[in-house]
Symmetry: C2
Subunit: 857 residues, 2 copies
């Protein structure tokens, strides 16, 4: 009856070849982005604890997939065991392999099956125990390329023909000790890096699904429980997270197993996994009932009959008994996969039907241009690409999700847990007259951090725009108070004529989209009647001098009005960016000129237009947001900003720093005020404040500002607030992120001195870009690298087209960038590794070269 | 050597008395709020799985507390086992009791210890197995009051004197079957309600800590794993959540135990618990190392030597060996407790030092008036009260955390998990040109729900105020487009003279605090120069007729201009609130009068003041926010709003509904537009949108509105956006909440028809309040019950003082209310039980009576 024709034990082919040390790819050949195929289902098999039967489930799924007679097509099943300890006594891939080959003839007599089992890499000791003579003594640590293989062919009466089906089992890494992988690795091989393991896993997945059209299915079986450490020490639920494969959870049917199953499920959810089904062994306790109730029937719970305890039992009967369970499970998994793919394909259509994206002319975004983002892991998006064979491709989020992002993968996981905790502990708690820990912690951390040395009060709101409106109200009150205006208006007779207050600001600044914040910016494409019917432009706007890198040189560019006064053009260049920020420039001739210029300008502003009640600037201002290519990208000369602050200080005009974008290490220091070396009276923070998770903003103020709202009437208080002021979930994320970013134990970019990030962007590459003929200027500071493409004359279209073609190519390279007109920019987070930034820069350089060459052809 | 003098087995005292069925307290005697003492440490002992040694740890702690010679003071230790299965064979409280009495003489020869062990309630079968003859046959289900007790006195050579120390062990509920409590209860007694169990637990805690000054310590040992079901089927981590006691987690030192320990920890965090320490048995796998690394050393991990496997071992030597571990653990627990108490005491001081609360005159909030909110569980705050003996008291959040709150305890837990998932899966993903599941899901749910029948696009922003600014931009664009204004301004020449656009709005409306939103409201205390230096009031504001309940009657109040036209005053009363909303009123004389009045008003508005470019109203508007007591609380007549909408419709003026407050069942229907029976062109949502967790807002629009932004230029698009637009975490919470609130499986308040909440506020009590002499008016609708106190003449102070004294009393009753001037209000969530609302109303009635009596005296 059995036609088990061959069982081969191949000799090891490439033995005891220590794995070549992985080096960061050189500048010329950056690695392709991590890609997960979606052409066939791939599932992670997790379990609530060790020894709950993950391998039995994998085997059952393999049997259901390969040995069913339902579908006539050729089928293949890939079983991967990335981490195996206790090898070779324990070999789950061998179990699947051998069990399938023995079940095959029984289940499907006419089936031809080619089965193989591979062990790719093993520790020296694990390897030596199967092939002792070939191991040299004292081989030392590291993993060996074992490449061991066994094959078996079940010939269902059609010998000679190609087999109907194929089973490929692979153990990726094997260790001898039957302990947790982190211990086994520590004892036998040393750690295996997560990235190394993931790359091998990706290769296995690519090889697994050939070009041939087969019904393929893959399961990846984890080791131990969901949060058992892998060979690097990372928890496996963290280790596999970049792939975010759908999951099957093998639950626990024993006493106490409800708890273990739910907790394991929650750990998976807390890492962003989708659990498609739970399967558990029946121990007579009907654990599936409370589990079903917990899941509210959104996750099916399947029950397997008791597993024979007798070790000599070959489980053949048990597999007969469980056939319908595994068939159901297989159906669930196939359905979930096909629904997911369908959903991914439909999302762009649904999006263009219902969304109204901000800052987007919808006619320019056809369905095909919509990016489907399946998830984020640290700095990387997982982007769905509909292709002949659909894939999920990782792209570095170089727009740092519109300037909010901070966390690496580790911080993201911890933020998820802590925010879940805050939601469970507080939900939201109304703020006025109350205190609760996250709000207090966050307020104090802000005052000790970005507000250190000047601020004494924290006013919470929801976003940068509201923080600015609050700041303006604070500053104007203080100004009115100091300049004797309030006395006349305390009775709040709004019919009475009151002086018009305006801000002093820099042309090209942008402080948010609500009307109050818009009024503080100079007229622009954003402010016309078409966009802002109520805009007046309530400010006096100065043209600032700017700084940029071009052709390997940092240079100063002066606006009209200032340029004619400076004759010595040598003064306009700097040896390095550090010189730009050097405080000694305060004594330079330029500083004096700035001061005179500002005084002159201020004296020219007619009182009929209003009183200048506040200065508002973005310290270290870097980008100029533009829509028409007529703008550009600028870094305002920090000396000019400092002089401006001093001039206002002497005139008793309150100073607002808009640090919504610049705060929290965006420009390399926790507060950009540090770059200017001077303090404001009021400062606004947002974006990175929560690490880049949820909206929250804070307006910090001095006690003098606060005091101007103190009095014996509620009407004197600041009557501005939002319902979610100081919401606990955002404050929790903020407190965590503020601490994390500046802790050198957590953030390797924090230098020993602690006040400056290490340089993220490779200086050589940045200079190289700055001297590229297609490049107009570069500004690089902190987490930001902005590159302005050269625009020929007024031909803005050229730059834009160039940018769009460039960005398209870079997305294929795994870099998700956006352009502001003809300015393209790269943005990392405070924790982003300089190595990663370098790789991204290399990709940009390569594409720039390529495009230039195309044009030269 | 041993001086174990007595071991008494008392006869059962009150046996086989079935627990009296708990009834909801009657209207006259509402129960006191749930209160947890903080005078002594109380810890929950959890474990990662069953049989990991929770009881051994409890015993070790009891020994460390009672048997150490360090502290001379009298000490007491309370051990509570709320849920015991497998009784009497398994009795953890007996184990602690007997082990301590045997360890005492060995550890502390001179110690006198009074030890007792109690079993309070047992299932009939568990009870019968210890006292068989007394159990009647066929006792049936339910729990018996067993009140069984054993006592032991260890007399350390000072017989006759009072003992130094006391150990009280209590099993609260015992079942016979050695299975999970939910199964045991199902089989033996039927479910025990969570609230019943918690009340008994609270009584045990109160009795446990007497008036006597002793060093007391309490541990409450859970059953099984953290997520094992309790006797009602609720998971224990959910069941005990209202107390939010600090936790000790007994981890798992075995193979796979790292995973189980971490997952259990995460389940506790996801319910808002603080885990103070982890303790686990050594199995030679050094699990404490990866655990320590996971915890980043913020949670200490203690290791116990292997527990003897030999069942005959009396563990005495093991306890000798572990003494230092338990002493360390005890130190950690004592320190954590004292630090927590210190923190709770210091929080008000720190708060008044660093916070700048919105809408708050800080001079009016001395440190002593600051409320310390330790947590929220569903609708209830846990509020810290510094007293002689500090306590944590539960207060119903009747300000529904400033109008945002929705979740009951179950939804809160699920939101926490789902938001954690969203944070882990997405963090934040930039929105424009992208699609990701939560944003898509949320947008579609909004269009199918509150936007059903009219809306086709979802525009996301951060809060109500920004949603309003966006709505205004949308409406003005559409108006300009329809009325031929845009053609002249397409070139966006902002210097060019353009028409002034204004809104049509109702006096007393409030649409948010940013400048644009403020401009849409009539002048008020909020809009003067002192508060809003840039405010102009860009609107034409009508005085609306209002509706209220007074002296058992719903009545209409007309503003000047309308009142003289209506002669028949009988028209001004309604039989019921339903009549107010009845669509047949459209055919009434009043409708015709409204229409004429509005037309007249509109014709009077001079074009020199601008063009009316939009109508903005809050449908079903209920509250009038006031600061000076001069205002009041009103519900605008829905007929008036409907007529207004129709008048604008005929004039081609776009209509905005501000549903930021009213949306999502706040007024009893998912959208308040349903109350008006008419559709807007644009509507704004916020607050309850995320169920009351994080800020998120949406502006919905018709396709006609959307189309007026379509064109061949980006400059024609709506250029307004915020960095966290459509943030994944908020959208996830929103999608969950929107579904939950309207699902009758989840929300028992949803009536079978599904479009209306059941009445939350007891009609009889509401009418009773409305006829109270101290009450001016009442408005009750959906989740809101607002009560305006009578103000004598212009003496606003009276009403305010009265309100403040009333609120103070109500907080003692466990109701956290706020006043808006002399209006006090109660707010529930869409899932809040009418029973709970009734209890709160009863408390309000009682305090009203009490205060009136005081005044009459």
């Amino acid at each position: 009856m059995l036609t088990l024709t061959s069982l081969l034990l191949r000799p090891a082919r490439h033995f005891v070849k220590p794995l070549s040390t992985r080096t960061t790819s050189t500048a010329t050949t950056p690695p392709p982005p991590l890609t997960v195929p979606l052409s066939h289902p791939i599932y992670l098999i997790w379990s609530a604890n060790t020894s709950l039967g993950k391998t039995l489930v994998s085997t059952g799924l393999a049997a259901s997939s390969l040995l069913s007679n339902r579908h006539p097509r050729r089928r293949s099943f890939l079983y991967l065991k990335p981490i195996q300890t206790g090898y070779p006594a324990d070999s789950d891939s061998h179990f699947v392999f051998s069990k399938l080959t023995s079940l095959a003839p029984r289940r499907s007599p006419h089936l031809s099956l080619l089965a193989s089992n591979h062990v790719l890499k093993a520790s020296a000791s694990a390897a030596s125990s199967i092939l002792a003579p070939q191991i040299p003594q004292n081989h030392g640590k590291g993993m060996c390329d074992l490449d061991w293989c066994e094959e078996s062919r079940v010939d269902g009466g059609n010998s000679g023909n190609a087999p109907n089906s194929e089973l490929v089992c692979k153990t990726m890494y094997a260790w001898g000790d039957p302990v947790s992988p982190h211990l086994a690795a520590e004892r036998e091989s040393g750690a295996v890096e997560d990235s190394t393991l993931l790359e091998l896993l990706q290769r296995c997945l690519e090889i697994g699904f050939g070009k041939e059209k087969m019904d393929s299915f893959c399961v990846i079986e984890t080791a131990g429980g969901v949060a058992s450490p892998g060979p690097s020490g990372s928890l496996q639920c963290d280790l596999y997270r970049p792939f975010r494969l759908p999951a099957i959870l093998v639950g626990d049917g024993r006493l106490g197993g409800i708890s273990g199953t739910i907790s394991a499920y929650e750990s998976l959810k807390l890492r962003g996994y989708d659990v498609v089904a739970v399967v558990l062994e029946d121990h007579g306790l009907v654990n599936e009932v409370p589990l079903g109730s917990y899941f509210r029937n959104s996750v099916p719970v399947l029950v397997l009959p008791p597993i024979p305890q007798d070790l000599s039992d070959d489980l053949v009967e048990w597999y007969d008994d469980t056939q319908n369970v595994f068939d159901s499970l297989m159906e669930i998994m196939l359905l979930a996969h096909s629904e997911r793919i369908k959903r991914l394909h439909n999302m762009p259509k649904r999006a263009v039907d219902v969304f109204w994206w901000p800052f987007t002319q919808h006619t320019f975004v056809p369905e095909g241009d919509v990016t489907v983002i399946d998830s984020r892991c640290g700095e990387n998006f997982s982007v769905f690409k509909a292709r002949n064979d659909d894939v999920m491709i990782q792209q570095f989020d170089a727009c740092a999700s519109w300037w909010t992002q901070g966390p690496d993968a580790t911080l993201q996981t911890e933020l998820a847990r802590d925010m879940g905790y805050a939601a469970a502990r507080f939900g939201h708690v109304m703020f006025p007259e109350n205190v609760y820990e996250p709000a207090l912690e966050c307020a104090e951390l802000l005052l000790e951090g970005v507000g250190k040395g000047w601020a004494s009060r924290t006013y919470f709101s929801d976003n940068g725009s509201t923080a600015i409106e609050i700041a303006l109200k604070m500053a104007f009150r203080k100004f009115s108070y100091d300049h004797g205006i309030l006395l006349d208006h305390l009775k709040d007779n709004s019919a009475e004529r009151h002086p018009e207050l305006v801000v002093l600001a820099l042309r090209g600044s942008y402080h948010g989209d609500t009307l109050g914040a818009m009024e503080a910016q100079a007229p622009s494409s954003y402010t016309g009647f078409l966009q802002q019917p109520w805009y007046n432009g309530r400010g006096f706007f100065l043209d600032p001098p700017t700084i940029f890198l071009y052709n390997n040189m940092w240079s100063l560019s002066l606006p009209r009005g200032l340029d004619s006064q400076i004759l010595d053009l040598k003064n306009l260049n700097f040896c390095s960016r550090d010189n730009v920020f050097d405080k000694s420039r305060d004594k330079s001739d330029i500083a004096a000129l700035y001061s005179t210029h500002i005084s002159e300008q201020l004296s020219k502003f007619p009182e009929s237009k209003g009183l200048i009640g506040s200065l508002i600037i973005e310290p270290g201002k870097v980008t100029h947001i533009i829509i028409q290519a007529a703008g550009g990208m600028h870094m305002v000369d920090p000396l000019f900003q400092r002089v401006l602050v001093n001039e206002c200080r002497t005139r008793n005009i309150p100073i607002i720093f808009d640090e919504v974008f610049t705060g929290f290490w965006r420009l390399g220091t926790e507060s950009a005020a540090e770059l200017l070396c001077c303090f404001p009276d009021v400062a606004c923070f947002g974006k990175l404040l929560t690490g880049g998770t949820v909206p929250l903003a804070a307006t910090l103020a001095t006690s003098a500002i606060f005091d101007s709202f103190i009095g014996d009437s509620k009407l004197k208080a600041l009557l501005h607030g939002h319902s979610y002021s100081a919401h606990a979930i955002g404050c929790t994320a903020a407190a965590k992120s503020i601490r994390w970013f500046k802790d050198s134990q957590r953030n390797p970019n924090i230098t020993s001195k602690g006040s400056l990030l290490s340089e993220l962007w490779d200086e050589k590459l940045v200079y190289q870009i700055s001297s590229h003929p297609a490049i107009q200027r570069v500004v690089v500071l902190g987490t930001l690298c902005a590159v302005e493409l050269r625009v020929e004359g007024s031909n803005a279209g050229y730059g834009s087209l160039y940018a769009s073609s460039l960005l398209k190519k870079l997305r294929e390279d795994g870099v998700y960038m956006r352009a502001l007109g003809h300015v393209i920019y790269l943005m990392g987070g405070p924790c982003t590794s300089p190595k990663v930034c370098k790789l991204v820069l290399v990709k940009v350089c390569r594409r720039l070269e390529e495009l230039s060459q195309t044009e030269n052809d």
